[in-house]
Symmetry: C2
Subunit: 627 residues, 2 copies
């Protein structure tokens, strides 16, 4: 990401313990599907029993969606040089429509494979790249449209459900508000057939390149849980490839559903290989960045041939989705000339420069069908880039942005005509009152192809806090229908995110995604809120921490005020002290009502609560039994 | 706030420099109104000129709303023992409807004044408390309804406008999106008459107790800028009264429009005096907390007489608004018994306990008219407390909450029948899809009395990040019409906020408030966004930092990646390095279009841009002149 990158090395290959240690109170579980090698990972958060004075009932463990892969599995020995298990390899092979290649078919891939100087940087296990057999289309969309339910689709279905049916017997946990989905069609239970149908219609994608068999299948679509992407890339301060892998593991620990590798620099080919081989989540890239490096940063020197070779190079490494800015058409570029902040997308500005320099239509646009041919030979999904997204509130929803969006809608049709999976990228910077129209237009122009937005930031005035300015917009647009959010860290506009920033950005975006799932009425979403609220009310501090998105921080904050272990079983909050606690008082109100057998409270009020009030006073107004 | 508070002292009376130093690039200015002693403070942020290669134009200084009081005024010598200048004293006196009292008229106030043991804790300058003359009503609402425009109203008008008319000549700065106000009636220019009318109708309040002449008048109402309150209170770790004042100054530095002093403990009377005498913003309290202390924490021992004495005690110190939980009626208490989290409001649970113990209607409700009599003798505004607000997503918008809200609407009518100013408190925890109905119901039931909400939190699953879970809801509800937001810090539910948390919570809530102002289409809101975006595009790094809500953090984050001073005049972002910057490329696009005299870009496209493209390539594709 910087001009100052040092030479990478593979010196360090062990991950820091902080990155892989299981969350407190949690264990990895697997739910097996219709075949023994279809094992869907989840995280089970154990709960303590309700204290005896509140009823002494057992509390079930809560299953939550787990993006962290085998890294948090105690039964898995991490070996970065080995890479992750290729859990999808058999599924891909069984289909019989792909074949291993003798070696990389891109020119650049061959050059790198033969470069002796890169030998010590190379990932040791070089699996032969696979490609569709001649004439075959190996995309999940193609299978879906043939009526085939793939193991990937079944995996997604089990994963989306999170066994929530098991909690139906607990009204306290299962209760939920009616949602407002703005036309979303979220089913009570996700079946493999539902997944197939959504993928066939183009309303969801399962990014899973046949050359990334290590990835755990996941779906991006408005009728599934809202997903979050984390960006990362080589930076000046990084000297070891293991650190790149560590960034990836760290991001998935905090809930990244996909990661985008935006590295630049000399050794991105080798770094990418390490990242993909060790990534349990789909990996996206912006191939134009690497293509630009191949022409020494001169946008006008880019050619279709170089770009094409880059696509094949990356597809054979296993990149699951490509951001391609094919909507930045020549005629749209001048529409940005009166903007306050011009073109803020790197890919967009590269293509704008190319178009102006040649006064030609973008080669991404003119060669789009050929790109589709490549995508379907590996099952790489499109992420149609919003190269003309607004970079400021002032520029939001302008003609340049809307012209590009219309083009992206046309390109989605083209992709679908090839059965290639496709999502659409969105802004950016948008004031709240214009967020809804972004979603509405996207749904209409792109016929419900999944929307993948960056933020949007709802104001420009808070550099240093743009994870928050954008989380506000992200929660809203996800509620309206966005399928995946690209996280923003506190360093946005200012610098490169460090480990702290990645955690802060990821948790912030998990909040936005979850708030949206709740608002849409996702049938499983409120379960975790209910469990945490119940734990809070019953003063089960450890459970309250562990059920949260960041148990470690919750505990740390609590301990800053009340550090002793005894305080974590204390029946008072740290805010009010032991003698002045509203939660405790309302426990008393509840127990009072319950002990007196008041079921219909209105009736009871009339039937002599006054008498009971006297008893209550006589007993010293203490119905709360001492421990 | 804690059971462990140590003995306070006044030992330290100087404020830390970090709390009072002016923001970088900023200076305090005053705009004088119709009389020389009506001087409205604002903060002017100076800007650098646009670099010559982008046009070398001067950029105006940007005026922003300034809540920090004289503490950031270089011409003001801070002396906590002296307190702030009583800027409103003459205005109050001139009206001739108040008189100084010989001493405190509350029993408790007299006891404290005579307590020799408290002598060394007492604020040294004991100004005589004032009260309305017999029969007089000294509220701003009363004046407004008489057709009187007070200096306070004129002050508010000037303050709300922020001289924005001066920027009208700059289309780049003045451009803005059409807002969606959901029925708000925000004028292009706020006149003193408009303020009067809003206060007269009950749609806005100006909390300004006649005994707090130090406060700079401000308005809370949906047709004004969205305001933010910060809570604070004595904590276990605080040993000096100066530290309490420091918390207040710190919160207003980051934009607190009002503060609520929620202190508990032995010396709250003395602490409150120090806080009010040094507060440039209105101060709110929850008098039931202190009343409870007077009866040793036994809710059932509370009486109307003790509560009444507490109201008078605090009103004569200068508290500007009282949270009063008069909507927690006996009949509503059992409605909470099946909630997941019961009653989470401290004031609400105290009153619930009292009602159950006595089986009597709340004395706050039965004595409400007498409370109004006290309020109008000092101009204390009501903040009608939401004692039954939901404490979890599960409990959102339940019958208990709605029953209380209906009662608050009735009580607002009663307050208004006494010409007493009044706002309504709101939740709490609310999933996004139910936020709007909270606002709609409040507007309908309370006839547009200003709404003052805590958050709301849009999910329960992120302890440690509840400033963010709540800022999402806060931005939305403020957009829908909430007039003031109560901030939430990262420590919510876990512990006591420290200085870092207060800053984090305040900036987060200033973001929410501003995002709402933008969305409502407030005529001045987008100016600052536009100025910052222009600075960003022109690589004026210092201006970008200084125009932000937290210039110090923005600079610090930038410097973590690019520490050198030279980088702050660098024409590249820290993210992409000097050779790969989308902002720079789009500068080229813009200059290209401009240099070639392309005004109507569409026409130009047809008229031979192809020829110009050749030139562009011949010139090395570098239209960007080197520095």
């Amino acid at each position: 990401m910087s001009a100052h990158s040092r030479e990478p090395s593979v010196a360090a290959t062990a991950l820091d313990h902080s990155v892989t240690r299981p969350f407190p109170g949690s264990r990895k579980v697997h739910v097996t599907g219709s075949r023994p090698d279809l094992r869907v990972p989840m995280r089970a958060i154990e709960q303590q029993d309700t204290p005896f004075q509140f009823g002494a009932e057992p509390n079930p463990s809560i299953l939550v969606y787990d993006t962290s892969g085998p890294y948090t599995d105690c039964d898995h020995a991490v070996d970065l040089q080995q890479g992750l298990p290729a859990l999808r390899a058999a599924w891909i092979e069984e289909r019989g429509d792909t074949e291993p290649l003798p070696g990389p078919s891109s020119r650049f891939g061959r050059e790198r494979a033969e470069d002796a100087a890169a030998a010590n940087l190379r990932f040791p296990e070089q699996r032969a790249p696979r490609q569709a057999r001649a004439g075959a289309n190996v995309t999940q969309m193609h299978y879906a449209r043939q009526g085939i339910v793939t193991p990937e689709m079944e995996f997604v279905a089990i994963r989306e459900n999170q066994r929530r049916a098991e909690y139906a017997h607990s009204p306290e946990l299962a209760q939920r508000h009616a949602g407002e989905g703005f036309g979303a069609a979220i089913p009570e239970t996700v079946t493999p057939e539902f997944v197939r149908d959504e993928v066939a219609r183009g309303r969801a994608i399962i990014p899973c390149n046949i050359n990334h068999p290590e990835s755990e299948p996941m779906a991006i679509g408005r009728n599934f849980l809202v997903k979050v992407n984390a960006n990362m890339g080589t930076s000046a301060v990084t000297s070891s490839i293991a650190e790149e892998v560590e960034k990836l593991v760290w991001a998935t620990r905090w809930g990244a559903d996909t990661i985008m590798d935006l590295s630049t620099g000399r050794h991105i080919h080798e770094t990418r290989e390490w990242v993909i081989r060790n990534s349990p989540v789909p990996v996206g890239t912006v191939p134009i960045y690497q293509a630009l490096e191949k022409v020494d940063g001169k946008a006008e020197a880019l050619t279709w041939e170089i770009f094409r070779d880059t696509l094949i190079e990356q597809a054979e490494q296993g990149v699951d989705y490509f951001t391609i800015h094919a909507g930045v058409r020549l005629a749209f570029v001048p529409l940005t000339s009166r903007r306050v902040t011009g073109i803020v997308s790197r890919g967009g500005s590269i293509m704008a420069k190319w178009c102006l320099a040649h006064h030609e239509e973008s080669f991404l646009y003119t060669h789009f069908e050929e790109i589709c041919e490549i995508m379907k030979a590996y099952d790489v999904a499109f992420s149609l880039g919003d190269g003309l997204r607004p970079g400021s509130i002032a520029d939001a929803s302008d003609e340049a942005q809307m012209a590009e969006l219309r083009t992206l809608g046309e390109l989605a049709q083209t992709a679908w005509s090839h059965d290639v999976q496709c999502m659409i990228e969105g802004p950016g910077h948008v004031p709240m009152q214009r967020i809804r129209e972004n979603m509405t237009e996207q749904l209409a122009l792109c016929e419900e192809a999944p929307f993948y937005t960056l933020g949007p930031l709802t104001t420009d005035i808070a550099p240093g806090y743009d994870h928050i300015t954008s989380a506000i917009g992200a929660a809203m647009i996800a509620w309206y229908g966005t399928a995946m959010l690209c996280y923003v860290t506190p360093k946005e506009h200012l610098g490169l995110p460090d480990k702290h920033d990645v955690r802060e950005g990821m948790v912030t975006y998990r909040i936005a995604a979850h708030a949206a799932d709740l608002a849409k009425g996702h049938p499983g979403a409120q379960l975790r809120d209910n469990a945490l609220s119940k734990a809070r009310f019953e003063f089960r501090w450890e459970d309250q921490f562990n059920l949260g998105l960041d148990p470690e921080r919750a505990r740390e904050f609590h301990d800053q005020t009340l550090p002793k272990e005894a305080h974590k079983v204390a029946h008072f909050c740290s805010m009010c002290g032991p003698h002045f606690c509203s939660m405790r008082i309302s426990q008393e109100v509840r127990e009072y009502a319950q002990q007196k057998g008041i079921n219909d409270v209105h009736v009871a009020m009339e039937e002599g609560l006054r008498e009971k009030a006297k008893e209550f006073r006589r007993s010293g107004s203490k119905v709360y039994r001492e421990l």
